[in-house]
Amino acid sequence: MSAPVHDAVSSPRARERVADSLAGAARPRRTLWERIKREKAMYVFIVPGFVFFLVFAYVPLLGNVVAFQDFSPYLGIFGSSWVGFQNFVDIFQDPEVLTAVRNTLVISLLQIVFSFPAPILLALLLNSLVSERLKRFVQSVVYLPHFISWVIVISIWQQVLGGAGPVAALLDKIGIHHVNIMTNPDTFAALVTSQVIWKDVGWGTIIFFAAILAIPQELYESAATDGAGSWRRMWHVTMPGLIPIIALLLILTIGNVLTVGFEQILLQQPAIGTERGEVIDTFVYFRGIAGGDWGLAAAASLFKGVIGTLLVVGANKLAKRIGTGGIF
């Protein structure tokens, strides 16, 4: 994309030939405009998709300016008045925000401790199976819930674990009455975490299987020859092979610490109540889109986004310092 290069060869055809013969060693010497014209058919492929990303990924970024406005949809972004950082000041004085942040962090912490390692353990277990057929069968069973929507997952859980389901009936028989796991606010964080594990533990193993497959078999063989049993091989051969991908996923997880399953929680919040069921994203939805307090909700969402980015960058730096390598 530099300035046009003056070429000694005058005839375009000859120039093309020279350029092609040079192609192996150097880039063809053409002006930018010539290169664009030569590849014009490719832009027919690129432009529609590019326009899509500009409109639906980049334009909404600009829409975040409503966080600095007393926004009203009737006045629009250009008609609404500017309030500076007032919305950000307001979110810190809103008790509901504090509740939402607390619930978000509690759920996130539970998920980092329980949902994050679950697929690693499952991948190690499945990897230790000798029978390929059994492994395949278990894989196709555990991947399935990933493809089911949250609405269906929660419906199914309600049917089985809800007040009218077989689990409650069983508990009732052994003397524990009126248990409804699905509507108990005190155990909601644990319920959400269990649902996440149930839905995605299988799907999460895929990336670890890929990493396990990349470990050379000779390493296992020589470890075994040196007298390492299957536990020690798992610990000293398989685990080191998984560390880079675990570090990478942990960075992403930490960056997402303020994001917990939005649809999943939104669906169950009416049964749980806001005291335990409100998280940052549901706050943004209920206050903004449902409640009409657009500026305040957008400010909460933007603040969350900025913190998330800082966390990813910070976790990435830390991972690099420890020596496991970062994402960027």
Binding site: L32, R35, I46, G63, V151, Q159, S230, G288, S301
Partner: protein, 295 residues
């Protein structure tokens, strides 16, 4: 793959205790994953009394629930809406995803295509948030339009990258020789690139189809008109939130027991996924793997 089933010579056989422990853990996992599905399917066929009694296994068989909800009420309509959105959305997503993916395969030759690629990759790292997205869809006049469920998610950057990586692995000589024979970019794309990529296209189409079928939140915020709702919204209203649907079945049909009806609605909304799953299964791990490793 069969040779992998044989234990390598250097590995000692596991002890009896370890084997039993593994078998028990795996059995528990399989039961926990499958039983909820089986329970709902079985109970959707149960007679009203059995369904309400909270048993683990059904004691009778009846298809009343299905007869009722498929008689042309709100669930039937919602299933048709969901199917329509899934089909139209998947076709459009595939067209736009594959064309962009092909357009970004030769970033060395095509000026600015690397810039476009980087801009697309960046969108995987951030999202604008629900409020700006809602305001955009609103200002485009898509509120209460089914297009609001398709257009904002037309291309997934992740899917596009997976397809692009696959295209880039195709033998370059094939494409070069076709071009020497006078094939245009479009002919190369339609006659060579797409036919050679069937496996990855199947996986990506499945991902899009599942996404459209499962789409809930967009439908919830963009469709105020309940007559336009897809099945996921109806399921939420009727099963998760437990509200009654006024036009659940056509008039003059006696209301069925809500317990079995709820389960039958769950089954019907899960069925397309359960049907597509075995077909797609043989493709998807491979497709996701290649994408995940290189992406």
């Amino acid at each position: 793959m069969t040779q992998l089933s044989v234990r390598p010579a250097w590995a000692e056989p596991p002890s009896r205790g370890v084997q039993i422990a593994k078998a028990v853990v795996i059995a528990i996992i399989v039961v926990m994953m499958l039983y909820p599905f089986l329970y709902v399917v079985m109970m959707s066929f149960a007679s009203p009394q059995a369904a309400a009694s909270g048993t683990f296994l059904p004691t009778s068989f009846s298809i009343e629930a299905y007869k009722n909800i498929l008689a042309g009420g709100v669930v039937t309509r919602a299933l048709v809406v969901s199917a329509g959105i899934t089909i139209v959305g998947t076709v459009l997503s595939m067209v736009f995803t594959t064309t962009l993916a092909y357009g970004l395969t030769r970033t060395r030759d095509v000026p600015f295509s690397r810039t476009v690629l980087v801009l697309v990759l960046c969108t995987m790292l951030f999202g604008a948030g629900i409020i700006p997205n809602y305001l955009l869809v609103r200002s485009l006049g898509l509120i209460d339009s089914w297009w609001a469920l398709i257009v904002p998610g037309l291309i997934s950057a992740f899917n596009m990258i997976v397809v692009r990586n696959f295209f880039m692995e195709l033998p370059g000589e094939l494409i070069e020789s076709a071009k020497l024979d006078g094939a245009s970019e479009f002919q190369v794309f339609l006659r060579i690139v797409l036919p050679l990529s069937k496996s990855v296209l199947a996986v990506i189409a499945l991902f899009y189809a599942v996404g459209y079928w499962n789409s809930f939140f967009n439908a919830m915020i963009y469709l105020n008109d309940a007559a336009k709702w897809p099945v996921q919204l109806v399921l939420n209203q009727y099963v998760v939130q437990g509200s009654t649907l006024t036009d659940l079945q056509p008039p003059n049909v006696p209301p069925p027991p809500s317990d079995t009806i709820q389960k039958a609605v769950i089954v019907l909304s899960t069925l397309p996924i359960l049907i597509a799953y075995p077909f797609a299964q043989k493709y998807f791990t491979k497709g996701v793997l290649t994408g995940a490793i290189k992406g």
